[in-house]
């Protein structure tokens, strides 16, 4: 179904990838932890190595929970699929983590 309108109703999306340049939005969810009301939203470079993304962005957020133990982080998923992050050296883009992707982990 399309919007009913008096004229051609076509407008650009407010959060399209080009608005973020070399960066993108990524959502990260700590599965099963009710301490956080929801997943977190990050703006990260597409070319950031995964381990660096986790250390510099995700862990400071996850540490809002005083029981967070970075060594316990495991079982990364990209949407519903298991994500093999290897040694953390691959970039988000290499791993197929594109604009507005949802990542989840257990800890």
């Amino acid at each position: 179904m399309t919007v009913k309108a008096l004229y051609d109703y076509t407008f650009p999306s407010a959060d399209r990838a080009e608005n973020f340049g070399d960066d993108q939005l990524v959502f990260v969810h700590w599965a099963g932890n009710p301490f956080f009301c929801s997943a977190a939203a990050f703006r990260a470079p597409k070319a950031i190595p995964f381990a660096e993304f986790i250390q510099t962005m995700v862990e400071p957020w996850a540490a809002s929970d005083p029981d967070f133990d970075s060594a316990a982080v495991r079982n990364w998923r990209l949407f519903d699929q298991p994500l093999d992050t290897g040694d953390g050296g691959k970039t988000l883009l290499d791993l197929g983590v594109t604009h507005k992707a949802l990542l989840s982990f257990d800890a």
Partner: protein, 502 residues
């Protein structure tokens, strides 16, 4: 018992009403009807006879202003007396006012938006009776905005968070929830607006949206807000009537209207219900003297009165209860808790404060939510208590994922499993869009062209459109000042309160 004198001959109400409304209308001759009323056919709604619209209140301008002036006189007398007697000191606690901060920031601007759009309808609806009803509602809504501002201005003298409600409505993350709802309605056609606001908001959900604030006021010593509520409610009964008349008129005009109306009911029930989540959090957690639980209010005002009362009436026209209503019913034991968790996690960035519930309040929550509170929510609140007992206060050190449609942080859980966040997403023009529920996803997929334009606060912050990259930059851009935000205990409001009650 007094004997009643025979009264002087007067024109009967029906006739006066007709002479002063319908009979003032005329068929245009200098321009075509289509040019005079350009908005009433593009939605696909068919109207054959605009005279089929009845206004049971049969209000004329003179009666309107007479009664409204009387209501204002009564209200302002109470506001004056409360201010003069330093009535704010007899509130249950300063923390109560956090609910009223949300009200002036979130609801008052919607009254103003409604005023504007009903003025638009007062010009562009084709029948004189609905135009006049819309004109009265437009003036009513302006009255509500003004009286709310006056009512709540007294608190602005003594407490934080009230000072920049209008600017905050346009900028602050949690306020985009109500703002986007009205923007969605105002950018729809006139008939969709009537179903979204007059019907879904002002009839179907009005008691759920409104009565909790007013009862909360009554229970917590907030005489001015309570009095405002009663003063506005008598206007609301006319608004409810307009909503009900609108839907029946449209359904009776042409059978082809039925599926269009059903779709709008489905969309707008869910849209307004998701917005009412803020009320759920308020009712369950933000009233020092609680009135009733969200669960109880939802059962009474929606399940009993609407599903049990109204929808059987609409069944005659082939209208069914709203799509996804079962999801709303399934959430009633969870909604308040999940929403307050959002507010508690993020009040460092809000123009109100929050705190972890006390033992006493948790006992009330256990009692009100026997199947969910102790199992799913108490453990986290107790963890917060332990952190605070050690001198800390935990907030969400980051930004949340928002739903593209309702714009609430995605804190809602799967209907089948309250330990799992409910994630949905859609693709449109190669881009991913997240939604919080089947309800919001259905709405997105139906009109993606609209929702991809949404001004999502978190994404706008990340695009650099909200004052700067740091939290202080953003709070400054929001207009949030020292003392407005964070934890209630130890806040400026709390400190003042204790000082004034030594």
């Amino acid at each position: 018992m007094t004997t009643v004198q025979p009264r002087a001959k007067k024109l009967p109400l029906k006739e006066r009403y007709s002479l002063l409304t319908r009979d003032l209308d005329w068929e245009p001759s200098y321009v075509s009807r289509e040019r005079l009323y350009p908005y009433t056919s593009y939605e696909g709604i068919k109207i054959h006879d605009w005279d089929g619209w009845t206004d049971p209140f049969r209000l004329t301008v003179d009666a309107y202003y007479k009664y409204q002036a009387e209501k204002d006189k009564r209200l302002y007398a109470v506001l004056d007396s409360f201010a003069q007697s330093q009535g704010h000191l007899s509130l249950s606690d300063a923390s109560y006012l956090n609910a009223i901060k949300i009200f002036i920031q979130g609801v008052t601007p919607l009254e103003y938006a409604a005023h504007r759009h009903f003025a638009f309808l007062a010009r562009y609806l084709e029948g004189p009776a609905p135009r006049f009803a819309a004109l009265c509602q437009s003036v009513d809504e302006l009255r509500h905005a003004q009286t709310q501002i006056h009512t709540i201005s007294n608190y602005n003298k003594y407490y934080g968070g009230f000072h920049s409600w209008s600017k905050m409505h346009d900028r602050v993350w949690y306020l985009s929830v109500p703002k986007s709802l009205f923007d969605d309605a105002m950018t729809a056609g006139p008939f969709e607006f009537l179903i979204s606001i007059s019907f879904s908001f002002e009839y179907l959900l009005t008691n759920l949206l409104f009565v909790p604030f007013m009862s909360g006021a009554s229970f917590n010593g907030d005489l001015p807000t309570m009095t405002f509520g009663f003063s506005a409610q008598s206007d609301e009964s006319r608004h409810m009537t307009l909503g009900l008349e609108a839907i029946k008129f449209l359904l009776e005009q042409d059978e082809d209207n039925v599926p269009i109306i059903q779709d709008w009911i489905d969309k707008w029930f869910w849209r307004a219900y998701r917005m009412s989540a803020l009320v759920a959090g308020m009712m369950d957690y933000m009233l020092p003297k609680p009135v009733m639980s969200w669960r109880e209010a939802f059962e009474l005002y929606f399940e009993d009165q609407m599903l049990g009362g109204l929808f059987p009436d609409l069944d005659f026209y082939g209208i069914k209860p709203p799509r996804h209503v079962d999801l709303a019913i399934g959430e009633k034991d969870h909604l308040g808790h999940q929403v307050y968790k959002i507010l508690h996690n993020f009040s460092f960035a809000a123009a109100f404060t929050t705190s972890t519930p006390t033992d006493e309040h948790m006992a009330w929550l256990s009692e009100q939510y026997p199947s969910t509170f102790d199992r799913h929510y108490r453990p986290t609140w107790e963890k917060h208590r332990r952190i605070e007992a050690a001198g800390g206060r935990a907030f969400f050190q980051g930004l949340p994922q928002l739903c593209q449609v309702c714009q609430v942080p995605m804190a809602f859980t799967e209907p089948s499993d309250p330990t799992r966040i409910s994630f949905r997403h859609s693709e449109y023009r190669g881009e991913t869009f997240h939604t919080c529920s089947d309800g919001c996803k259905w709405i997105f997929d139906r009109e993606p062209e609209k929702y991809v334009q949404a001004w999502l606060p978190v994404h706008q912050i990340y695009q650099g459109n909200c004052g700067g990259p740091t939290v202080p930059d953003v709070l400054n851009w929001y207009g949030i000042k020292e003392g407005d935000n964070g934890e209630y205990r130890g806040s400026a409001d709390n400190t003042s309160w204790l000082e004034w009650h030594k």
